[in-house]
Symmetry: none
Amino acid sequence: MADKPSESDREPRQRILDAAVRLFAQKGFAAVGVREIAAEAGVNISMISYYFDGKVGILRAIMETFFEGYLKILDVPDADTKSAEACAFEIMDSLVRYVRENTELALVTYNELPLEVPEIAELKVDWIKRMIKHASWILTRFGLDPADGIRIGMIGPTLFSLVIMHFRIRSIQRLVFGFSFDDAYYEEFTRIAATFFLDGIHGLVARDQPERKPE
Amino acid sequence: MADKPSESDREPRQRILDAAVRLFAQKGFAAVGVREIAAEAGVNISMISYYFDGKVGILRAIMETFFEGYLKILDVPDADTKSAEACAFEIMDSLVRYVRENTELALVTYNELPLEVPEIAELKVDWIKRMIKHASWILTRFGLDPADGIRIGMIGPTLFSLVIMHFRIRSIQRLVFGFSFDDAYYEEFTRIAATFFLDGIHGLVARDQPERKPE
Amino acid sequence: MADKPSESDREPRQRILDAAVRLFAQKGFAAVGVREIAAEAGVNISMISYYFDGKVGILRAIMETFFEGYLKILDVPDADTKSAEACAFEIMDSLVRYVRENTELALVTYNELPLEVPEIAELKVDWIKRMIKHASWILTRFGLDPADGIRIGMIGPTLFSLVIMHFRIRSIQRLVFGFSFDDAYYEEFTRIAATFFLDGIHGLVARDQPERKPE
Amino acid sequence: MADKPSESDREPRQRILDAAVRLFAQKGFAAVGVREIAAEAGVNISMISYYFDGKVGILRAIMETFFEGYLKILDVPDADTKSAEACAFEIMDSLVRYVRENTELALVTYNELPLEVPEIAELKVDWIKRMIKHASWILTRFGLDPADGIRIGMIGPTLFSLVIMHFRIRSIQRLVFGFSFDDAYYEEFTRIAATFFLDGIHGLVARDQPERKPE
DNA sequence: AATGAATGAGTTTTCATTCAT
DNA sequence: AATGAATGAAAACTCATTCAT
């Protein structure tokens, strides 16, 4: 009883969250029942309402947890002493690491993001706005107009999608084949993704400057 | 009553399918009820069991419809008279057109693909295998070993994800902002995606041949 | 299968309504569960949502049924050929008969009337307004100002309460003692109640005319 | 901390009781949850079990509180020096005053009285018996046989109902219109009610003596 | 080919209560 | 005297499906 090293001795709230993330990633939010979550977490069903005020409360918590970590990634330390390219690479590196360490959290957020769940509609819009605000600095570094909401709004999701794409495929590959990926793979993956991302931004900037030149 | 010009006079089966695709794309398969589908389609609830043998039957039909069209894209006419690059570009071009014309169908398939729905697990595996079989020719054209299931298994999903990624973001952008995309955009999008895709394959090939050279 | 004479062969909707009225009268609306109603009615639980769109739907139906019958009582046939007193007596007579034949219906309506059930708040107000409109003619016959909402608003409930009071006490007396009441009793009851009611109205009229004279 | 002047500093037990009376009167006993009571009273949920041994314990306490006060009313000081009519008027006067000062307490008791709440069934019977015992003296003063349980059993509830009827209507009138009542109104109300009550008793006595004369 | 009433297992949520602190 | 986390049963309701017509 001194400390709590065993799996099942973690805080109930966290156990629910973990179980839910696992199950949501596996079957999707709507397909998972609270009973299943409670059973998987080894807690009483009522605890879900108690801690999260209902099933959507868990999804809310999951998304908020993910978004919080995601926002931190965009805050590159000493960004003004580095080149835009270096910043972009650093962000990509952190992002890959983050998603690798929180794959299910990321997948659930990514999967549920476009789906209409009325109770979290506001939350999604709020976070997307916060991200745009946070991300705009790097885009201005690349010469994009910070007031150009549409183009700026494209970067974040693209960045996210680009990385998540791999982890999504990976989970299918794990399912169909039995493949696994090592550190070296992710080093290269980061490099390729960063390059693609930079190319994408450069393309956006170039295309933007002369209004959209005739082809 | 001679022919069927009005929206609501289409075949009931098709009306159900259309309604389901729309709703599944909006809320996700598990979050949509048969009553909702029936109401949206303007048919009796029992018709869903009658035509599709239950709710999963609709998802099955949706995925099969999508996969069928997707397979056709991989069959480039007169492929042996064209370069591998030209074939890749042609595939990408068809794919973008296909997803553009069947966005919701594609999104539903993409969204539900990694989710565990026991009744369609077999269907998914079957189609993925058929695709690998169909796609292997182009990969051999690029110098990949057709027996290398893992690498070949990566191409299809990557290709798919790359394209779908845009349409997914697009639906969010439509929601949050009011952005829309024109033909010119998709021309360029196809070119960029094809380039990225080719680069990816070239990378895979290069990395593979000499086992993995020291950096 | 020709006709349906047996108790349990009535229409499910009616069986639910009957069971609910009985149970609501016994324990109060909030204390009765849908499972209990369904069991008592011998129908599947889902039928309650199916026919009444939820538990409050039953209460709504009960109250509407009662109110409808109550309204009819206020429409005295050939009222203009009778004295106000005769009309009042006729109303009282019908009312006693009505409540005697629909005791539980009346008791449930009476019991739940002052309780806050948000979903039926509007319904209650609507019916009360309709009653005031319907009842105003008799009050004008007695010399009351039909625009005097407050005083007119008192008559209906008083009339109702006066009669219901007896049936409420009766149910307790049945519970505590084993007393029962016969036709002769109700004849006299009607006469007394009518007298009291007329005295009440006369009192209201007298008190009203000279504004409220100093005592 | 010396004395307790503020609203929220009253004894927790009393705060619970007050909150419960208010809520029970508003929504009915069964429709109110302990959490709601605890929140309204500003105490911890467990305090309800602690002080009242559960939700029904509160209802028990409420009813007992009301019944106690009600019993006192029946004990007219120096009753034998006054006429039966004077005693009846004094009782009615005290009763109106009592209900006016404890309206919600009275309404809750009145509302829940005919409802089946197994845990308080005994309590209700006990108090009704005590009341009959206490009230019988006045009835004998009017010439009724104290052994005639049925007739004696009618007086108390009638008396109570007669008064409560007004307060019940009043709460609806407050809801629907915005009417309020002053001291003068209650003076007159008391006189009318007492008259009605006396008439009722006289009627009972007269009807009783010659067994029930043929009409 | 099509209906809609009916089913029963399923859903999430809330209940009053208890227990360790 | 008081807390609030935790419980398990029960709440109302919805589900996909079936069946008689």
